[in-house]
């Protein structure tokens, strides 16, 4: 048993709660030292610099100050006498003078007071590729209950650029269930291990889902939404067919044959383009009209493709996707499209934001958020008022606001005398457009609802809540200036003249949050990636779904 890594978020997969100098910090890690413009440090989500997974922590020293990040593990019991392995992988890309990186640890007691002195694992002042700095089997002193691990810039010279990744603290008490056989071989069952909660073979449908997406949904155990970080899925094509037309040219007086493959415009189940939000749109290959070259869509490659959808941050079902993936040559002109975006029942996350999905198709699963008043404040004296903040989220996590508090609906005291009321409201907003749009940009809507609750004796207080909705990357080239109509659905109930008042906003299905008349430009292309599905694509898949922290339900 080599133990499990005691550090939280050692892979830096969770981020965004702490932002310093516009840089994101991994959750569970905190900065220390001198925070200034001299030291730029934060999470880098790039496979280019990472040692493991796809992100690492960048430390860039451009002044005399020094900064670091640390994490303290609180075991909550005496760890004296227990052995630990501690380490981290460090790459120093650029170094000047005495600048460098220090990795160190401290033993702390139950109140967080240091025991003995801080122990330096390594002070590195020369460039190096990723190298492990570590200590092995260090023994915790008397009264130790916590371990502090820190990595920081050092020296007075600059610049210095370094990357650190894969920190670990192994050891202490072991846990888990060890199973032996009669030969002495053993295995340990750990909470960190995932369980296979679904597997088998499933038939892929010949038609799309009602919302225009495609695939088979596999139920996950329990009724709660499950965090995507706890799920892993493998899907494999089992039975497939592909659709194309061969065009044979005979030469050498009919003794030799030259075959070329083209898109088949005549198949009964068509090819589909797949949008970033999973919505499938029919695409028909050219009809191969003799003399008209543009009607011949040449086949570049074909291969089976299977996967599972990643649009969500939490799910009750896993969507398995499978199709034959074709690349055809076809010059597709750029243009302008008009879109309606719908709030969906499931979540989506970006570098810095988490919200509900904004997709181009209306869903059929209803969700709502309910705000409950203080007890005996059941009257909605003012409101519920509602409005939106509209912004663009860029790939690096930064945000450009298009406007705030737009498309406001002010219902004043309409609800003050009612016990139950629900309605869809809408208002327009003149979107100014955004010419600097790049394909990886997303739209973000924040629906804000507020009002005033009152008791029967007209004692009042103000309340508010908000819900966030985010698109996937939209692959547009520009957002046009048009007038949008923004819809939201508000529900109100009060128990009586005492008790509680309740306000809900709905989205996901016909009680919807949506925005219409969104206009955007898209780029042209020289190739078309499409899929054929079901019996004309992949008719069966084998799959396994893994779940961490499975509760047995």
């Amino acid at each position: 048993m080599k133990g499990v890594n005691r550090l939280l978020n050692q892979d830096f997969m969770e981020y965004g709660n702490v932002i310093i100098n516009s840089r994101y910090y991994p959750n569970n890690w905190l900065p220390y030292g001198t925070i200034s413009g001299d030291t730029s440090l934060g999470l880098v989500i790039t496979t280019t610099m990472a040692y493991t997974f796809d992100r690492c922590f960048e430390m860039y020293k451009v002044g005399s100050n020094n900064t670091g990040m640390s994490q303290t593990i609180n075991f909550g019991y005496d760890i004296a006498g227990l052995d630990f392995d501690i380490g981290m992988w460090i790459r120093i890309h650029t170094q000047t003078g005495d600048s460098g990186i220090k990795l160190s640890y401290k033993w702390l007691d139950s109140s967080g007071t240091i025991i003995g002195s801080q122990v330096t694992i390594d002070s590195l002042t020369a460039t190096q590729n990723y190298t492990l700095s570590s200590v092995s089997a260090v023994t915790a002193p008397t009264n130790a209950q916590r371990i502090w691990l820190g990595v920081e810039t050092i020296g007075s010279d600059q610049p210095m650029l370094a990357y650190v990744d894969s920190p670990y603290i192994y050891g202490g008490k072991t846990y888990g269930l060890k199973i032996y056989d009669t030969s002495g071989d053993s295995s340990i069952i750990l909470p960190e291990a995932s369980s296979i909660i679904a597997s088998g073979t499933v038939t892929m449908p010949n038609i799309l889902q009602d919302d225009g997406t495609y695939g088979v949904d596999i139920d996950l155990p329990g009724d709660d939404y499950i965090d995507m970080d706890r799920i892993g899925v493998m899907v494999q094509a089992r039975d497939f067919d592909w659709k194309a037309i061969v065009n044979i040219l005979e030469y050498d007086t009919g003794n030799k044959f030259w075959g070329n493959f083209f898109g088949d415009s005549g198949i009964s189940i068509p090819y589909y383009e797949k949008a970033p939000d999973g919505v499938m749109t029919e695409w028909e290959a050219g009809a191969m009209t003799p003399g008209t070259q543009a009607t011949y869509n040449r086949l570049i490659n074909v291969s089976p493709f299977t996967g599972w959808e990643t649009f969500t941050t939490s799910v009750k079902k896993v969507r398995l996707f499978a199709g034959i993936d074709y690349t055809f040559l076809k010059t597709a002109a750029g243009g302008t499209g008009t879109y309606t975006l719908y709030g969906r029942d499931y979540g989506i996350s970006t570098l810095a934001d988490v919200g509900y999905m904004l997709g181009t198709e209306q869903g059929d699963v209803e969700r709502y958020y309910e705000y409950v008043s203080l007890v005996d404040f059941p009257l909605c004296l003012w409101g519920p008022h509602s409005k939106f903040d509209i912004s663009i989220i860029h790939a690096n996590g930064s945000e450009t606001s298009l406007d705030t508090d737009v498309a406001a609906v002010d219902v004043a005291q309409t609800y003050a005398a009612v016990a139950d009321k629900e309605s869809s409201y809408n208002a327009t907003w003149a979107c100014p457009g955004y010419g600097a749009w790049v394909s990886s940009d997303r739209l973000k809507f924040v629906l804000k609802v507020n009002g005033t609750f009152s008791s029967a004796w007209l004692s009042t207080y103000n309340w508010s809540f908000s819900r966030t909705f985010i698109t996937p990357q939209l692959n547009w080239t520009s957002l046009e200036a048009t007038t949008w109509t923004l819809y939201r659905y508000i529900w109100f109930h009060r128990d009586g003249i005492s008790g509680y008042g309740r306000v809900r906003t709905y989205w996901g299905a016909t009680k919807e949050m949506k925005a219409t008349n969104i206009s955007a430009d898209y780029a042209g292309s020289a190739a078309q990636q499409v899929f054929s599905i079901g019996d004309d694509g992949i008719s069966e898949v084998d799959y396994m779904i893994y779940l961490k922290d499975y509760d047995g339900s």
């Binding site: 493991t52 997974f53 796809d54 069952i189 493998m234 003799p290 396994m544």
Partner: protein, 179 residues
Amino acid sequence: MGYGLKVRDTSGNTCVLTPDVKSIISAGTVKIPTVLRPDNTYGVNIPLPGTTAYSEDDIGVLVKARDYVVGGYTIAWVSGLAVGEWAFAKWLLNGGVFWTRNESTGVVSSFAEAIYHDTIYNIHPEAFWDKLGETTFNYIRLFAGLAFEIYDASASDYLKIYDLGRITTIDYVIYLRNL
């Protein structure tokens, strides 16, 4: 089976956990790099638990490409044919960056295409556990690249090369025993 831990449900279904059972210690989706490692190998590393190495026999890995874009080709029509005969040739992209991979070490080397000579006969995504010539492991290297099966005109031979960076994400699962 005379040993192990038997788990029952209320319906009487059972399973037995034995030392031969492997645990899934890491699974999910991860991005693939756009550049080589300093040692000229390629791929994303997934750490294994602990500080000592695991034997190849105790590890199981499944990987598959999740998102990719096909590119890296050049098309030319063949002129002079009859009406309605639109024959074409499919070559490696002039100026494209392609790599051969040493099966034993995982080291990749650049491949210089012969312009309008190296004909493509298939393009498909590949992803696998790159063992880098090792038999014990502290981490798992996952390789993924868009594979081009070509006819290498200058060598008069068939060859597989890779366009790296066109696969953006992969799904993977890693199993371990003797934890």
